[in-house]
């Protein structure tokens, strides 16, 4: 099932994703939308590529194409060495163990007929991972890792807040210890503190297990923190793709420049507030 073209590591690289000239046009009546316009990029193992850009620019379509959900008109999407659009259903299913996804919509992506515990355990059952007890332990570990506790395992997604659903989806995606996780606006529905906790966890997992992330976000500060490389999409095209320092220090494309310029300012700077926080915390602890 391997298709090694374009993924040979003769140059010493080990790409987990190779998007090779992806093209896709949607037709709305007589009108056409070029959702993917010659999209090419690679994501090396153990690194994060952030995909940023205006809504409608094609970020989610790119993600769906990489995941094998959306077939492109032309071009190839190679994940872990396999062309995802050239696999049998069975092969694709096997690849899905290595490639997980967390979507933008917190409510829609969880099966409402199952409990949270069953949702997280589902993938482990499907791929026969571990004994029943080991699975339960893993599920408990995962739910705590996303900042919830075991009391949530018996609940139904309907009984959760948006951010809690989002965290369950993240726990589920990590259950199988995948090699690649595609996160499409996966943390925007979380308060900034829970978000920080999850981002820290994702970074730690990357350090420990060499996970690869395709990280879609519209928050450039989050993209900068998470990603090694950043690709900017505009109307189905990647208009700029560079490492994060270069992108912020020296954005070349006018669209990227505009995007950086439009970041809202006026909030207290994180660092200043943190210093203040430590000071007040000390005062409070002294008071009792």
């Amino acid at each position: 099932m391997t298709d090694n073209d374009g993924t040979t590591s003769s140059d010493g690289t080990d790409p987990v994703i190779v998007a090779d000239d992806l093209q896709l046009t949607f037709h709305h009546g007589k009108q056409e939308t070029k959702a993917l316009d010659h999209v090419s990029f690679r994501v090396e193992r153990g690194t994060t590529l952030a995909l940023v850009g205006q809504s409608g620019s094609g970020k989610s379509t790119t993600a769906r194409t990489i995941l094998g959900i959306q077939k492109p008109d032309a071009g190839r999407a190679i994940v872990c060495g396999s062309d995802v659009h050239d696999l049998s259903q069975r092969e694709l299913r096997l690849l899905r163990q290595k490639m997980q996804v967390v979507l933008q919509d917190p409510f829609g992506q969880l099966n409402r007929r199952h409990t949270v515990g069953r949702i997280i355990e589902g993938a482990l059952i499907a791929f026969n991972r571990g004994s029943r007890r080991e699975r339960r332990e893993r599920v408990a570990e995962l739910i705590r890792a996303v900042g919830l506790d075991e009391s949530y395992l018996g609940r139904n997604p309907r009984e959760l807040s948006g951010g809690q659903c989002q965290r369950v989806a993240i726990a589920r995606a990590l259950a199988l210890q995948p090699e690649l996780v595609v996160l499409d606006e996966a943390v925007s529905a979380l308060d900034v503190s829970v978000r920080a906790q999850i981002l820290n966890m994702l970074v730690q997992l990357q350090k420990d297990f060499g996970l690869t992330y395709l990280f879609i976000t519209h928050d450039l500060a989050v993209a900068r923190y998470m990603a090694h490389d950043i690709a900017v999409m505009h109307r189905g095209r990647i208009v700029e793709h560079s490492d994060r320092d270069t992108l912020f220090a020296n954005p070349k494309d006018p669209y990227t420049q505009g995007l950086i310029a439009s970041i809202p300012v006026g909030l207290p700077r994180g660092a200043a507030v943190r210093a203040e926080f430590d000071r007040r915390l000390e005062l409070q602890l002294e008071d009792g």
């Binding site: 809504s55 807040s161 606006e185 995007l259």
Partner: protein
């Protein structure tokens, strides 16, 4: 003083728990004047959405309002009969949800849904309603609005769907608008346009708005007043300036401290809440900046 468009007093919302009802919204009170935007920020799971749903009486069993008084545009919401609720929701108050798909029918085109929404409130022909729908889509910043009327929801990106939903909510000219993470999925430029649009609509229609968001930058720019929720309670309240420039409650400080900013240091963990935040919050009283000023004047 004119009556507030929204008045909430001692609201308690409960869900059943192992050892009796759990107060997921725990005795909160607030007001919103017409033409004003009240932002709610805070912990995921702290009761923001359940507070919003209370204003429309949209909870489904076993979630219930256990106590409190709610008045929206002169209507005592808790005393409304079931049969009065639809008209109340359709004409007085509208909500833009966290999940745009939940407000749209997946098997009908955008145009059909907008035309229906318009015709419920205005007796106009389909043709006129269709023209209005086109204008509304253009107003919320959708390209080629006339063509998009024939699109199905699944054909639009998340950001576009959010804008369609905003257009639908506005079609009934509500007095009170609730936006629950309505701009969460939008990129900064689109978001700015949508917020400008909302700002214009708020002024034009003198609407009161309850605006729930996790985006502190948006909250600070868009909201007149901010209240911070933690664990079912309002822990801090003030003007956007007061709360963000002079945060007093440990939870608010922790929240602002965990913010990702463009100048933050890389290659080290983002600071998060102190582990004992629950304990710290219990010790710290809820903070109302208006009350602080009174104290300071004395």
């Amino acid at each position: 003083m004119t009556e507030s468009a929204v008045t909430v007093e001692n609201l308690v919302v409960t869900v059943p728990g192992a050892t009796g009802p759990v107060r997921v919204v725990d005795d909160i009170s607030f007001e919103i004047a017409a033409g004003n935007v009240l932002g709610i920020v805070g912990e995921s799971g702290s009761g923001k959405s359940l507070t919003a749903l209370s204003l429309m009486r949209l909870h489904r069993s076993p979630v219930r309002i256990d106590n409190g008084f709610i008045r929206v545009a002169g209507t005592d919401v808790r005393s409304l009969a079931e049969r009065e609720l639809d008209a109340f929701r359709g004409n007085t108050i509208a909500m833009i949800y966290q999940n745009p798909m939940s407000a749209l029918n997946p098997v009908l085109t955008i145009g059909n849904q907008l035309v229906e929404a318009i015709r419920i409130h205005n007796k106009v022909s389909r043709r006129v309603a269709r023209n209005q729908a086109t204008d509304m889509l253009a107003e919320v910043g959708i390209d080629r609005p006339a063509d998009r009327l024939d699109s199905y929801p699944f054909e639009l990106s998340g950001g576009m769907l959010q804008r369609v939903v905003i257009a639908m909510a506005m079609s009934c000219n509500p007095r009170v608008l609730i936006a629950d993470e309505a701009t969460t999925a939008l990129d900064v430029t689109t978001q700015a346009r949508v917020l400008d649009l909302l700002r214009g609509l708020i002024e034009q229609h003198d609407m009161a708005v309850l605006f729930i968001t996790h985006d502190l930058a948006v909250a600070s720019e868009f909201c007149d007043d901010i209240q911070v929720m933690y664990s079912g309670r309002i822990v801090e309240r003030g003007t956007a300036r007061e709360v963000f420039e002079d945060p007093r409650h440990p939870y608010t400080l922790g929240l602002l401290g965990s913010l990702c900013t463009l100048d933050m240091e890389l290659d080290r963990p983002i600071p998060t809440m102190p582990r004992d935040i629950a304990e710290l919050s219990r010790l710290a009283p809820a903070i109302d900046h208006a009350a602080l000023e009174v104290q300071e004047l004395r």
